[in-house]
């Protein structure tokens, strides 16, 4: 665990970096700022940060290209992407191409701090993060993210696309309290007040498929009134 994490904030909008950087500094995070992907790559060459927070739409080199170039070079610096509400393609792209998390603009800055800390806590320097890996396993469960398949004891189990998205998010964020609102956003791209019920229904469906007992869970634990937590250790299948 790093005491004072060192992050790189990439956004072309100086109004955002000017206001966000001092806030993050005051929250105990060291911040370097870059205005686009190309500048970010230069900064990374000189001094590797613990994490990158990047916007998507930027001139010269956008966030998506930045993410791709880093992952191609097998650079596994954790990345949080700043996406747009109701733009499911951005969210799906971010998660599929190996970003560690995403946050919809406009966001609560305190939420960003919480996410930065959670992602850094999970990451192990120099090794691919769970989010940047295609195949994950946890006890008798295996998830092939590229093929969108789930196996239990080497036997395939069939999940609806939404249940699979939930499982994927939970498995790439293990040991983290994931709120129902967050899960709703993962599945839908946006949340709505009554929608958290839909998340509960999906989780129940997922538990049935995984044969996970809600009162004595192996995988998904209910955090009463808050959300869910994936409690089993997740490893990368090489």
């Amino acid at each position: 665990m790093i005491d004072k994490p060192n992050i790189l904030l990439v956004d072309d909008e100086s109004a955002i970096t000017d206001n966000l950087a001092p806030f993050l500094e005051r929250s105990g995070i060291t911040v370097t700022v870059a205005a686009n992907g190309e500048q970010a790559l230069k900064v990374i060459e000189e001094n590797t940060p613990d994490l990158i927070v990047t916007d998507i739409l930027m001139p010269v080199m956008d966030g998506r290209e930045l993410l791709r170039r880093l992952r191609q070079k097998e650079n596994w610096i954790p990345i949080i992407m700043l996406t747009q509400v109701g733009e499911p393609s951005e969210r799906v792209m971010a998660l599929e191409e190996g970003a560690d998390d995403y946050l919809n603009k406009p966001f609560d800055p305190h939420e960003l701090v919480a996410r930065i800390r959670a992602v850094i806590r999970r990451s192990q320097p120099g090794r691919p993060t769970l989010a940047a890996s295609w195949r994950l396993t946890s006890q008798s469960l295996a998830l092939d993210r590229r093929a969108r398949r789930v196996y239990r004891d080497a036997r395939e189990i069939y999940l609806t696309p939404k249940a699979l998205l939930l499982l994927e998010y939970l498995m790439t964020h293990p040991d983290e309290l994931v709120t129902r609102e967050r899960l709703l956003d993962v599945v839908w791209g946006w949340d709505y007040p009554i929608g958290t019920r839909a998340v509960d229904t999906r989780i129940a469906e997922l538990r049935r498929s995984l044969e996970d007992d809600a009162s004595d869970p192996t995988y998904i634990e209910t955090v009463s009134g808050m959300g869910y937590r994936f409690i089993s250790e997740v490893k990368v299948i090489a």
């Binding site: 966000l20 001092p22 005051r26 700043l82 406009p106 800055p109 791209g189």
Partner: protein, 312 residues
């Protein structure tokens, strides 16, 4: 392409016209021809003739429909583009303002040169923060609506009875629901409601919004009824109440985003509930309609096609 077809169609008429002019001008042998026909052929001829005329009228009507549909479609497309741009232009300033405010309020907890911000200033920051949040929610909500109209849907079989029952039981826990007079009728005999093809979460949201409205726009003691039934092709879901009703002049606007009627001004809400219902039902190839009388009550009717083979 279009012109060639028109020429082919108009060809015989033009040839006739030309011959007529020629004969008229030259006074050449313009005698009257008598055609003889039996009654059967005569009737058949007129029958075919009228069929052709009716066919032509339909064809024209379809063309006109297509044009007006296109205009409607373009208007919707414009609005969607506008919402996208609005959201896009607002998200960065809003993010910056939220960050700035967070920065201000955190600096107050870490006093530099030994002085705290006054309570009054702290309250000001809090209040501005809340208003920015409100603005962010509003922009986000509009964006969701636009997204709902175009997003890719993953439909599956939906057990309507289950969704309706769930929406009903949730509605009865709403604020004020305890002193409404509820009634519920869903067929079980001779068979239950059919399975329909759709998105369960969205249908639940649509039913919920209608029931939520019913609770909001009724007074203690008023009735709220939820009914569902079917005919051969369609399933109907009705949410009726003996509440405030909607004045005539407001009815055309109730489906519009952010529209809030006179009665709704004192009641909390986003002004998006019914727009969401309309968008959701439309994506399910259904229709939603309203009949209402001011001060007497309102009935919303959702009509949705039954999935092929949905009746088991």
């Amino acid at each position: 392409m279009m012109w060639r077809r028109r020429l082919i169609i108009a060809g015989p008429s033009l040839a006739g016209l030309a011959a007529n002019l020629l004969i008229g001008l030259t006074q050449l042998d313009n005698r009257i021809i008598y055609l003889r026909s039996d009654v059967g052929t005569f009737v058949l001829f007129w029958g075919v003739f009228f069929s052709l005329i009716v066919w032509g009228v339909f064809k024209l009507q379809k063309l006109a429909d297509r044009m007006s549909l296109k205009i409607l479609f373009e208007a919707r497309e414009d609005r969607r583009r506008f919402l996208r741009r609005l959201d896009h232009e607002l998200k960065n300033p809003l993010t910056a303002i939220l960050a700035g405010l967070a920065n201000l309020s955190i600096s107050e907890h870490q006093p530099t040169n030994g002085r705290h911000l006054s309570k009054e200033r702290r309250n000001t920051i809090k209040s501005v923060e809340q208003q920015v949040q409100r603005l962010s929610t509003l922009v986000g909500d509009l964006r969701k609506l636009a997204d709902l109209e175009i997003r890719h849907m993953e439909f599956s079989s939906v057990n309507l009875t289950e969704v309706i029952e769930e929406a009903y039981s949730v509605a009865k826990t709403l604020n004020g629901a305890e002193n409404r007079n509820w009634s519920y009728s869903i067929p079980r005999a001779p068979w239950p409601l059919p399975v329909i093809w759709g998105d369960r979460d969205l249908l639940f949201l649509a039913f919920h919004n209608l029931l939520d409205n019913a609770v909001k726009f009724t007074r203690p003691g008023d009735m709220i009824e939820l009914r569902a039934f079917e005919d051969n092709q369609m399933v109907f879901i009705e949410v009726a109440d003996s509440g405030l009703g909607i004045p005539d002049q407001e009815i055309p606007h109730i489906w519009e985003e952010l529209y809030r009627g006179e009665a709704a001004r004192s009641i909390p809400g986003s002004g998006l509930g019914l727009s969401l219902v309309a968008a959701i039902i439309k994506r399910h190839n259904g229709q939603v309609s309203i009949s209402t009388r001011n001060r007497q009550g309102t009935k919303f009717t959702i009509k949705m096609p039954i999935k092929e083979g949905g009746r088991k």
